[in-house]
């Protein structure tokens, strides 16, 4: 009787284990590299304003080119002082939320007056993302981490991002995915220090609208969230008004050349 190979599924041909079987036959270790993302969220936009940080994104998750899920919350509160927004592979985002849960729970259980601020969480996530990248098994996300914490010199606002290869930085305004190309130019032109909440929401909506028109994986259902020294608030989803009444859309084939 030949020896049981316990690291392989018995008999059968399991598509997922094909590479494993090939590897095992070659005598090598299992290599599980993340090759593609499957269910993905699109852009997240965030900016610092007078009382803290505002973050917004749509509530969609696409499965390839299908707009499969339409009520997905891609911004979550972390601890007492931060918000995290994730674009990219949604299951990886959920995994990251689980890691953060463990972190914030053990921090909370200390009950010693110390708490993890946005900078610490951003740093921690950077280490996680970079280490996974080095193992060729990335968490396929671009994460936006924003928050505000009271320090010895007053309220300190923080906004940063980290992506799947571990690139990380801090800025006054962040956008991921298509937002990098469509929203950042608007933010650079119109962001200013100490905007009011209303001004900040207007600016964010302007960016979200452009993304809605131009990013095919965005949907018309958005969530805005804010974090201040009082805590995190994630507002219920709402939609933006769009305008499609351009004359060119009325008879799109008008100028088209046809053979019949």
């Amino acid at each position: 009787m030949e020896e049981q190979k316990w690291d392989q599924p018995m008999g059968g041909f399991n598509a997922a284990s094909r590479s494993q079987m090939a590897e095992a036959a070659a005598g090598g270790e299992e290599s599980q590299r993340t090759l593609y993302p499957y269910v993905t969220g699109t852009s997240v936009i965030a900016l610092k304003y007078k009382d803290g940080v505002i973050m917004a994104c749509d509530t969609g998750a696409s499965y390839g080119s299908t707009l499969r899920y339409k009520s997905v919350e891609r911004i979550k509160a972390v601890g007492k002082h931060s918000l995290i927004g994730g674009s990219g592979e949604f299951s990886d985002f959920q995994e990251i939320l689980r890691y953060l849960d463990e972190l914030t729970l053990s921090d909370h259980m200390w009950d010693d007056g110390n708490s993890l601020g946005p900078k610490e969480i951003h740093s921690y996530l950077t280490r996680v993302m970079y280490n996974r990248r080095n193992k060729f098994d990335p968490l396929w996300n671009a994460l936006v981490l924003g928050g505000v914490k009271m320090g010895p010199k007053g309220a300190e606002k923080y906004l940063g991002m980290v992506n799947m290869i571990g690139t990380h930085f801090e800025e006054n305004h962040i956008a991921t995915g298509f937002g990098n190309h469509l929203a950042i130019p608007i933010l650079r032109a119109e962001w200013s220090e100490d905007m009011t909440f209303e001004e900040a929401v207007k600016l964010v909506e302007k960016c979200l609208l452009v993304l809605l028109y131009r990013d095919r994986s965005s949907i018309n259902k958005f969530q805005v969230a804010k974090i201040t020294t009082e805590g995190a608030t994630i507002y219920p989803p709402y939609s933006l008004k769009t305008f499609w009444g351009f004359s060119h859309f009325e008879n799109p084939a008008q100028g088209a050349v046809g053979s019949w």
């Binding site: 200390w110 007056g113 110390n114 900078k119 610490e120 740093s123 280490r127 320090g151 010199k153």
Partner: protein, 267 residues
């Protein structure tokens, strides 16, 4: 010290529920040169008395910086203390690498205590023969912890360990209630006075004590843990002696002088 049949190893309890090896380890702490720590609501101070092994040698170094925001002073087997300092430094650095933030002092003290506890429950180990005073600053203010060889740790407003530390403790017990409002200068003065009590007649100079301070000043800037330079210590000691020789003015009265309409004190 009496001999017992239950004191051969740390994994044996006595019939009265004591572990003698642990208690002997705490005895080692009591034999070391005295160390004192004090806390106000802005600063924490550590003072160690320096006892050279002989007239020809230099004194044992007992005050170490663990990170910018925390330092230790110890009494007992100083070699054990040195090794534990290396452990503490490592813990702080690892935390700072992952979180880019300073490890809160209570969590550092806990890690040290857990490490000490391991040695009290393995037959092939012995407890660390050193007691550490951990003084540090974090977002909840300055803290002073005492870590015992038994693996216990407590937070203190002020504490003294080592030989003749009872004299220092008695002095601190009289004065500790006012410590929270002290300026850093006053804290250092009282720490030096406490150490002086342990010297029992020997003259206190800047060469037989080491002082270190860490804290946050009024505008919110943190002052990192550092050993206070000997010239400043000597100046403080000299001013303390001058104050003793002058007609006694209790230091707590100095604040009342700041009132603009207070009459000058009658001496």
């Amino acid at each position: 010290m009496f001999r017992n049949q239950y004191d051969t190893d740390v994994t044996t309890f006595s019939p009265h529920g004591r572990i003698f090896q642990m208690e002997y380890a705490m005895e080692a702490v009591k034999q070391g040169a005295a160390t004192v720590g004090l806390c106000s609501c802005t600063h924490a101070v550590l003072v160690a008395s320096n006892k050279p092994a002989s007239e020809l040698s230099s004194f044992q170094r007992k005050v170490f910086r663990v990170a910018d925001h925390v330092g230790v002073a110890f009494s007992g087997l100083t070699a054990d203390g040195r090794v534990l300092t290396k452990f503490l430094r490592n813990e702080c650095i690892n935390h700072a690498f992952v979180y880019e933030a300073q490890l809160p002092v209570s969590r550092l003290a806990l890690r040290l205590a857990d490490k000490a506890q391991v040695c009290t429950q393995r037959s092939w180990k012995r407890p660390y023969g050193v007691g550490l005073l951990v003084a540090g600053l974090d977002e909840t203010g300055p803290h002073l912890y005492y870590n015992c060889p038994s693996g216990n740790y407590f937070e203190y407003q002020a504490f003294a360990i080592g030989s003749r530390s009872q004299a220092a403790k008695t002095f601190l017990e009289r004065k500790f209630e006012g410590f929270n409002k002290y300026t850093p200068e006053q804290l250092i003065k009282d720490a030096l006075s406490a150490i002086k009590e342990t010297l029992q007649g020997e003259k206190l100079t800047s060469s037989n004590c080491t002082v270190a301070i860490v804290g946050r000043i009024e505008d919110g800037t943190a002052e990192p843990f550092q050993v206070v330079d000997t010239k400043r210590i000597q100046a403080i000691i000299d001013s303390m002696e001058a104050a003793e020789e002058a007609p006694a003015e209790p230091s707590s009265m100095q604040e009342e002088d700041k009132g603009s309409d207070a009459a000058p004190m009658d001496i």
